[in-house]
């Protein structure tokens, strides 16, 4: 039945299908948080569409009591593009993984982001192929031993956020599967953004790549391992008496150790700013990796640009405005014609 927007609860977004991820999978937490946030967004339930490709994460739409499409490997962004271009009033969400989105589907991810079509892309990054039972993925670390790399992976991994930034992403964020309030906030921000919103969600695969992000997921360790991003605040992290900051000079980041009384800004620590016109600053942030640096968590970049769907709709409207609504008889009779008399 129809539900008035605003009166929905997370239960309204749970489908009648049994959730079938492995026990302990990070996907459970992500699903629960998405179901938690959806009712708050003021969108009628029938206007949500969840689109996925192939892989563990791509089972997601079956568990959402919204419209959904479980499509083919790597192509979800292209399906979502068709849905959104056709019906701009819909709230379209893509769920993909590191293999689906960055390996077989890298091309579609690239082009969807560069068009800035107003879809929300959640890339669950567990740095391994789960559904095919444990091969290394395009985000796996060099040296990772898997069934397909018994001597260790020799592929250099791709960083999802650098990829998105390189494609010209207007909204880029990183979240963690088990950090519920933060993940929810990122989902809200993505929804509020007009244009492609790309969120990398660090997600644990307990079967094939357990504890890959332990230092970021674990409450104690993350104080040292994660850098929380807040717009307008200096890039500072660490326990109270061991604060550190990130300085960025000529695009090169370095760590600044701060005393208890030190003002980070006067020590040269960069102040986080989501709206830099060029993506250079966000690139520098995306290059921060363990163990030399903390992993930034939060919104890297959020800038406004016209969306593909809005421009397409505007072109159709402008054409109707300029030329009047299409008349088929006129079209068929346009140009050079001649009459054969009886």
């Amino acid at each position: 039945m129809a539900h008035a927007a605003g009166k929905l609860t997370s239960q309204d977004f749970q489908s009648d299908q049994d959730v079938r991820w492995c026990p302990g999978c990070g996907d459970y937490s992500i699903l629960a948080n998405v179901q938690r946030v959806m009712p708050e967004l003021g969108v009628p339930r029938e206007n949500f569409v969840f689109v996925s490709g192939i892989g563990c994460s791509s089972r997601f739409p079956y568990y959402m009591n919204t419209y959904g499409m479980h499509t083919i490997h790597g192509r979800a962004p292209a399906f979502a593009t068709g849905i959104k271009a056709s019906r701009p009033e819909l709230s379209v969400w893509v769920v993909t993984g590191d293999g689906d989105g960055l390996s077989i589907g890298g091309n579609h991810l690239l082009h969807t982001i560069r068009r800035n079509i107003d879809v929300k892309i959640l890339l669950f990054n567990n740095r391994v192929y789960g559904l095919t039972k444990g091969q290394y993925s395009p985000t796996s670390r060099v040296g990772m031993k898997t069934k397909s790399t018994p001597d260790g992976s020799i592929d250099h991994p791709i960083d999802p956020l650098s990829f998105a930034l390189g494609a010209g992403a207007t909204f880029v964020a990183r979240a963690v599967d088990v950090h519920a309030p933060h993940l929810q906030e990122m989902l809200r921000r993505a929804h509020a953004h007009k244009g492609t919103a790309f969120i990398e969600i660090l997600q644990n695969c307990p079967v094939y790549n357990d504890n890959e992000f332990l230092e970021i997921e674990d409450r104690k360790q993350r104080v040292e391992a994660a850098l929380p991003l807040e717009d307008g605040q200096p890039l500072v992290w660490g326990a109270d008496d061991q604060r550190k900051g990130i300085r960025i000079e000529n695009g090169i980041p370095s760590v600044v150790h701060l005393g208890n009384e030190d003002d980070p800004v006067s020590k040269g620590v960069a102040v986080h700013h989501e709206r830099h016109e060029t993506p250079a600053y966000a690139f520098a942030l995306a290059s921060l990796q363990r163990p030399a640096f903390p992993v930034p968590i939060g919104v890297f970049r959020a800038v406004e640009q016209p969306t593909y769907d809005a421009m397409l709709t505007a072109q159709v409207e402008a054409a109707v405005e300029k030329r009047g609504k299409g008349d088929l008889t006129k079209l068929l009779r346009s140009g050079d014609t001649w009459t054969v008399e009886s």
């Binding site: 206007n47 419209y67 593009t81 271009a85 054409a319 609504k325 299409g326 068929l332 050079d336 001649w338």
Partner: protein, 611 residues
């Protein structure tokens, strides 16, 4: 000066050929327009290289355009041109073998210099030897063009570009065609000196015909007797594009065209993109897979979704096409076939994708396949494809080919009121809704689109449970769904028109064709019958499922001949389906059938005996 005498003839085929930069396609198109306006029946065949600009003067860069026009009904661009207009030695060499013995060969002898002869692979001037077999007329078209515009102060490089208009003017005189439409077109296209130059050169060509002693007579091809009505020239690709726009109007849904540039299908994207004011959306995707994926997304969202592509793109679309079969969404995929395999000959003709359309996917995934038979028929074929797609909730493949795509024919403009209107019904009632419940007659599931309260549901590529559409690994359900989907497609046979026999409905030989070979087959059968042979033909629009009466029609003939521009793909299907010894006639040269080729096969199957 007294006017030269004129001679009446009933038909003629002319081929313009030159370097791909010489403007041969334009010359041919303009001559076609004037010929249509003069009231002849006509058929055209453009033939151009895939390279935009192959090295000048070489065989690789030769571009041609053939037009056949007549005072009676014609269906093909003609086997042999009666007139060849060759702009350089390479064009002569590439085309002379096709010309009817005794035909007229007009050459631009300014281009017959040592370098061009060498580039064409001629050791000596070939013209003297040709005089025994053809009527060869040498015209210094380049110098006469320069002469005509010398006062305009245009550089010779730029001025020489007009030389195709000299030839066009000459041919206008030779066949008594009016020049007005071409002059009007030039006025709409060019300004200033360039306009002036082109018009002067066109008129100079015409005047040259009037005054030169090389042509003692000009010719008149009287108007053809054709069905009364409003006509226009149309190529298959334009007809297809307009059919797409028309589908949106007739079915009252927006159209979404997803496409990736590919020869020979890109023109459809270009044409449809001009009609945004019809509410049509076009999406140039990043690749063939994205094009169909976006189209399926749009179909899920409620649009009339379509993709236009050619062989290599068709191959890439197969996985997504399988998803459209599984999710039972309406979609039209147009494969404008070209010569394969692989990249093959992108601008040349073949009918090699029939089995790909039918069987290109993994698993049992039947879908309807239909084919257009003439350029103008592409308009109706795409309307039919959309109607089947929406009625049966299935992807449909429409086969065209590069010959239909680029050939032009006079087309009786349809009265919009006479076109079938079939507004789409979307499901809105949530009561008892299950995504895979079926219409008892068509077995189609409901089209329930996002934004409709209470119909929220999930679809996807995993096996579906009957009714609910939930993911199911139940073995019996899996088989049941395969059979249901197959039965749904088979049922289309109940409502498609019965196949009609051209000629007597029984006899010694039935020629069975499909697609763009319609003209050549019909002409050959007509000729053979006129000479007393017992031969009829049928032309299949519906290749899956076949029309319900096909078995019965086939059974009324002693023998069956299937001409195809492939290794016998329809032949295989007919043999498998009906256990009949259907005989194939194959051709894979990137060129359409000649009427004589089919005629020969008919004669040989009938033992050359007349009844």
């Amino acid at each position: 000066m007294p006017a030269k005498p004129t001679q009446e003839i009933d038909r003629v085929a002319i081929r313009f050929c030159g370097d791909s930069g010489d403007g041969m396609q334009l010359t041919g198109t303009k001559f076609t327009e004037s010929t249509a306006l003069a009231g002849n029946d006509l058929s055209t065949l453009p033939d151009f290289p895939a390279e935009i600009r192959a090295p000048a003067g070489t065989l690789a860069g030769v571009s041609g355009f053939q037009i056949h026009f007549s005072s009676h009904d014609i269906r093909t661009p003609a086997d042999q041109p009666d007139v060849l207009i060759a702009f350089n030695p390479a064009a002569l060499r590439a085309n002379i073998a096709d010309v009817r013995p005794g035909g007229l060969v007009i050459v631009n002898n300014d281009a017959f210099n040592k370098g061009n002869l060498q580039r064409a692979g001629y050791a000596d001037d070939p013209l003297p030897a040709l005089r025994d077999r053809f009527r060869v007329v040498e015209i210094p078209a380049t110098s006469l063009t320069r002469e005509a515009i010398k006062e305009l102060g245009i550089g010779s490089r730029e001025g020489d570009r007009s030389k195709n208009f000299f030839a066009l003017g000459l041919v206008y005189w030779l066949y008594n065609r009016p020049m007005e439409t071409t002059i009007e077109w030039l006025e709409s296209r060019f300004k200033g000196k360039v306009l002036e130059a082109n018009v002067r050169v066109l008129k100079a060509g015409y005047a040259f015909g009037e005054t030169t002693e090389l042509f003692p007579t000009s010719y008149i091809v009287p108007k053809a007797k054709i069905q009364p009505g409003l006509y226009r020239n149309i190529t298959g690709n334009t007809a297809l594009a307009w059919g797409i726009v028309a589908a949106s109007q007739q079915m009252q849904r927006p159209v979404f065209l997803g496409a990736y540039p590919i020869t020979p299908a890109s023109d459809v994207l270009h044409e449809v993109a001009r009609y945004r004011h019809f509410g049509v959306k076009t999406f140039q995707a990043e690749d063939e897979i994205a094009a169909i994926s976006a189209a399926i997304g749009a179909a899920f969202a409620g649009d009339l979704a379509i993709c236009t592509t050619s062989g290599p793109g068709m191959v890439l679309k197969q996985e997504a096409l399988g998803l459209a079969v599984m999710t039972e969404l309406p979609l039209v995929v147009v494969d404008i076939q070209r010569a394969g395999p692989s990249t093959g000959m992108p601008t040349k003709i073949e009918q090699g994708d029939l089995l790909l359309a039918l069987h290109g996917r993994n698993g049992e995934s039947p879908l309807p396949v239909i084919a257009a038979s003439t350029p103008g028929d592409c308009f109706y074929a795409v309307l039919e494809a959309f109607r089947i797609a929406v009625t049966y909730m299935t992807p449909v493949v429409l086969l065209s080919d590069s010959y239909l795509a680029n050939s032009a024919e006079p087309w009786l403009v349809p009265d919009v009121e006479s076109l079938r209107r079939s507004p789409v019904t979307l499901r809105t009632d949530p009561t008892g809704f299950r995504p895979y419940d079926r219409n008892p007659d068509t077995l189609a599931r409901a089209w329930a689109v996002p934004g409709t309260p209470g119909l929220e549901h999930r679809i996807g590529g995993l096996s579906k449970e009957d009714g609910t559409g939930n993911v199911s690994y139940d073995p019996r359900n899996h088989e049941k769904m395969i059979l249901l989907r197959a039965e749904k497609i088979a049922r289309i046979a109940q409502e498609i028109p019965a196949v009609e026999v051209f000629g007597p409905d029984r006899g010694d030989l039935l020629v069975v064709g499909w697609g763009g070979t319609h003209g050549a087959i019909t002409s050959a059968v007509e000729q053979a019958r006129a000479e007393g042979l017992s031969v009829s033909s049928i032309h299949l629009r519906h290749l899956n499922p076949f029309p319900a009466n096909l078995a019965e029609v086939l059974s009324r003939f002693e023998r069956i001949l299937v001409p195809e521009l492939n290794m016998g793909q329809l032949t295989q299907l007919l043999r498998a389906e009906f256990l009949l010894p259907a005989q194939r006639l194959s051709k894979q040269q990137g060129q359409p059938f000649k009427v004589t080729e089919i005629r020969k096969a008919i004669d040989s199957m009938l033992g050359g005996e007349k009844i």
